[in-house]
Symmetry: C2
């Protein structure tokens, strides 16, 4: 395996909401350039999630290190006739030089906990909001959906086949990375293999069979080219397709070189049982059965519960768009400016002010609660927010390999109570408490904000 | 407005499913390089859609013109130890040199109609499947969701604020393009402005208000920097926020330079009415009211029906992930190889063989049905599939401007019966018929495929 290639292009600074730029112009004009802290949080868990898997930090930090406007960007912005020359001059020189603390990728997180915290001069921190939200939202959503697929399969490998239903194939590569971190076995997306080192898998589609006059010829020719491959058997009639695989083994002297068959339609459990009987009857007990087609966590769990003889699952749309929770309630909220805590009072969008820490507290090796606290409180428990960037540069030793992130996810999940790691809604959600000090700080700030005339 | 910049990087050839590459190796080894035709279709409309707006062709064609593996790609593929040297040599030289026919972007389409048809040597046509599906699926889904938002607002502008919930901010720019084509007024995504020429909009977020000690100071300073801007009034208390806007106008001599206020929380209809009364009471009848926050087509329609005094809507998540139809049942299906029709017989995934045409038939200026037919049938009606690429190069005169595409969408929608252009499920779906000739062709082919021993 070669080292995954990194994007060599500078991050596109115009991948942002226009209001970030209009606000920056106003901040500069009025000297609002003191240090700000923003929290990136998911306010509430979606109905179908007991937990989220934090993901997307690597993409976020790569962006922060590289983001800069280009001459073409400035030309475009000037053409809008809404920005001052002074603003454009300063924007040209703007780089992110701030500090980032973050929950390590692969860590399970819950509602209202900061996943990432940016501390930088206000314009810098504002500039990067949209991109950071996009990266963290997308990969956290994908990892959280993937975790459930892996949990449903109880150890049987699940592979991502979803790129065609992603928001473009490049987004699909990011989904594949997040899904691998959360426990999937690999992806069909080749760029995810090259860019991120995700194991890739895939052999043949129906079009290969259809392009041949005879299905039997198609299967034989493919097996001749690829050793230990997976043959697709359901293009016309599954029983007939499996029969051709048996014929192929007989022509090879009873020792099939075929590693597996794939079934992509119909009643997957019944079809797998039928195929298993036919294969076993021919002595092909080592040929595995892979299924795909409209699978989600619930259907996989049903197949596993029913004892279907299935050795691998391919999942597409349910992962690509996270069908049962297609978005998260993420936000990037100002928590502090110029040393003063800040919060929003608007109904249902309350936030906690100031720099914070999340302490995960354990009893007998099991995580029992998270405490949202003021950053420097000396509380028991494991602090989840870790420094990862300072002065706009990643800290040494804070870039774990993809497989290290994946192991961290597995270990962190194993530390949680089983009621929240299962597929069913937890009878009692994981406990999140707020420290007394943070509560007092918020109450004092709220009184002051409400009193302002 | 400057000319939108084009991506200068070659399209990433590894943004594909691995099975495309394993199939290509087998095709080459076995001399399967004759001409193939694939259809890109949406098999069935989702439950919440009476129609789709075809979109994404521009991205698809740009990819087809540029796709090529790089030296780094080949090095990665070689490292997998699953491809032959001959395959890698040939892959290095592979370029898409085929022909494409497509429904023009912005055209309303229905289930089982080819949106795009690729005719090329089998390996070339196979190589491009994943990327084309990703581009067409994403933008068609986004345009179709956006159309409903625009229809719900009945002429009041709707703007895309959804980038933060897209699958990364780059996907958000593509969503913004599709949404503008389908009738939205613009987007907050600045890159969508620069890349595609979509009008951009946006002024301030809550963080601007919160960064100031006093909300009134924040509103005043922003209005001092930006003329004719939109001020956000709901950070702490909406009535108080609107009051500050009135104060600001009074300090400016009763003539507010503020163009609009934005309300992002609470009961948007009630809040808009309250704000309208306060503004009108102060003589600020020209100050518009923009609302945002958890809006979708149904909520916009309710606000419009209730006569809420709202002058613009900002929509985020409902567009970014198409919440009411978060994926389409798209597929890329082999229709012909070496001059012979091909089809799949697997349950519920039947396809129509051969090169086809869709004829949209009109009565009294209104489209009454589409007929799916053999490509060269001399049927009445407007043929929807148009040649757009030959020899791997776009045909001259087949690249309409973004605004021409948007006008085409509007005109094509106006030609459809009102029962299918409304938000409610059509009492009778738009009629799609299949020509007798295409039916006979399919039946003959099916008999032959079922008979194969």
């Amino acid at each position: 395996m070669t080292t995954p290639a990194r994007a060599s292009m500078p991050a596109d600074a115009l991948l942002t909401d226009l209001y970030q730029l209009t606000m920056i112009q106003a901040y500069w004009e009025h000297g609002m350039t003191e240090t700000a802290t923003f929290d990136l949080i998911c306010r509430r868990l979606p109905p179908n999630r007991n937990l989220l898997i934090a993901c997307g930090l690597e993409a976020a930090l790569e962006y922060l290190e590289g983001v800069a406007v280009t001459a073409a960007d400035l030309e475009y912005l000037a053409s809008l006739n809404r920005f001052s020359t002074d603003f454009l001059d300063r924007l040209e020189r703007l780089r992110f030089q701030g500090e980032v603390r973050a929950v390590p990728e692969g860590t399970p997180v819950f509602g209202n906990e900061p996943i990432l915290e940016v501390t930088a001069s206000l314009p810098e921190a504002q500039m990067v909001e949209t991109y950071l939200l996009g990266a963290i939202h997308h990969q956290t959503m994908a990892a959280s959906a993937a975790y459930r697929l892996a949990a449903a399969a109880r150890g049987t490998p699940v592979v991502d086949f979803g790129t065609r239903h992603a928001q473009g194939a490049a987004a699909g590569a990011d989904t594949a990375r997040a899904a691998y971190i959360a426990g999937l076995a690999g992806t069909s997306n080749v760029a995810a293999g090259r860019r991120y080192g995700v194991p890739i898998s895939g052999t043949m589609a129906h079009s290969y069979i259809q392009a041949h006059e005879r299905e039997s010829d198609a299967l034989a020719s493919f097996a001749a080219t690829h050793r230990a491959t997976t043959l697709l058997v359901d293009t016309y009639d599954i029983r007939r397709g499996v029969g051709f695989v048996v014929d192929l083994a007989e022509r090879q002297g009873g020792e099939s070189d075929v590693a597996a068959i794939r079934i992509d339609s119909g009643d997957l459990g019944a079809n797998a049982r039928m195929a298993r009987e036919v294969l076993d009857g021919a002595g092909l007990t080592a040929v595995r059965i892979i299924v795909s087609g409209d699978l989600d966590a619930e259907r996989i769990a049903e197949l596993v519960d029913a004892g279907a003889p299935i050795d691998g699952y391919g999942v597409g749309t349910a992962l690509a768009v996270s069908t049962d929770a297609p978005y998260l309630d993420t936000a990037y909220k100002l928590a502090e400016y110029a040393g003063q805590g800040r919060m929003k009072l608007a109904a249902s969008k309350r936030t906690w002010p100031g720099r914070k820490q999340v302490f995960r507290q354990f009893e007998n090796g099991l995580a029992v609660r998270d405490v949202l606290a003021v950053a420097d409180e000396p509380l028991d428990g494991r602090p989840l927010l870790q420094p990862v960037m300072t002065g706009g540069q990643r800290l040494d030793g804070t870039q774990p390999s993809l497989n290290a992130i994946r192991r961290h996810a597995k270990q962190s999940l194993a530390e949680l109570p089983q009621r929240v790691t299962g597929l069913a809604p937890a009878d009692r959600p994981y406990q999140i408490t707020v420290s007394d000090k943070l509560k007092r700080t918020a109450e004092a700030l709220e009184r002051r904000l409400r009193a302002e005339a």
